[in-house]
Symmetry: C2
Subunit: 135 residues, 2 copies
DNA sequence: CGGAATCCAGTAGGATACTG
DNA sequence: CAGTATCCTACTGGATTCCG
């Protein structure tokens, strides 16, 4: 029996090499990218209301049009965000979280709060490590 | 009051722009990289026992020496992994999870199980989206 | 307005060879 | 054994321009 920590992670069927790889890598290459989580986050703050592209762009500091577009496309593709296109003049596009999207955000609460609790310790560790310099 | 989903995420002091950014990006660029989580995972499976560099390399499928070294260095720098160097001939180096490291892994359980539950749906969504092709 | 297209710089990551 | 050192490629992400 492994440690309790990983017990639930071990439910995945083992692969040909005889161990269960974490799906975290690969599947969430998405999570690792620079903007995806921030987009989900801003949409969730809207709590059910839809947000226009320009609103998202204004609220997510530093994101470029291209990166926001790419992030939204990937989220839409995964079914985490719904895109509503209104063929008006000028055109209007609104985005909202899907059920799945908000579920994923909920699932992120664990690491997020852990990070908030441990961020300063990590930064301190890095400082110490870097000060030690050449070993 | 925001949605329940993000309530606990909102405890962070707001920044100058008036909203609380998720720390998930930036702090865990680490989490987003290709090998970090897998290294933590393999170390946790050892449950307290230390693992040698070569053991890790053998068990983490596809990782190169360089990438494993970099991942371990970063984890050590953050204080998530402890490195024990034995100046023998030939040299021996052993790695183990720190308390902090296993805490982080525990905190990852949320997304991990969510991903395992939703992976097939996501893949299906992607398939449908890609089949729709040109919109 | 909400992109798409293009160009470009920086970096993550892989292959290979060498070393204390 | 456990790395460093190089080299190289591919992808991320930024800036800019154009389009329906």
């Amino acid at each position: 029996m492994e440690s309790v920590v990983v017990a639930t992670l071990d439910q995945q069927p083992e692969d040909a090499r005889g161990f269960s790889p974490l799906p975290s890598n690969g599947i969430c290459g998405r999570l690792g990218d620079k903007w995806t989580v921030q987009v989900l986050w801003r949409l969730s703050l809207a709590s059910g209301k839809k947000l226009r592209f320009s609103a998202l762009k204004k609220e997510i500091d530093g994101v470029t049009q291209r990166m926001l577009t790419l992030a939204l496309r990937n989220l839409e593709r995964d079914g985490l965000v719904a895109r509503h296109y209104f063929p008006e003049v000028p055109p209007r596009v609104e985005y909202e979280l899907t059920e799945m999207g908000s579920g994923m955000l909920r699932a992120l609460e664990g690491i997020n709060s852990w990070l908030m609790d441990n961020l300063s310790r990590i930064e301190e560790n890095r400082r110490v490590y870097d000060d030690a310099e050449q070993r």
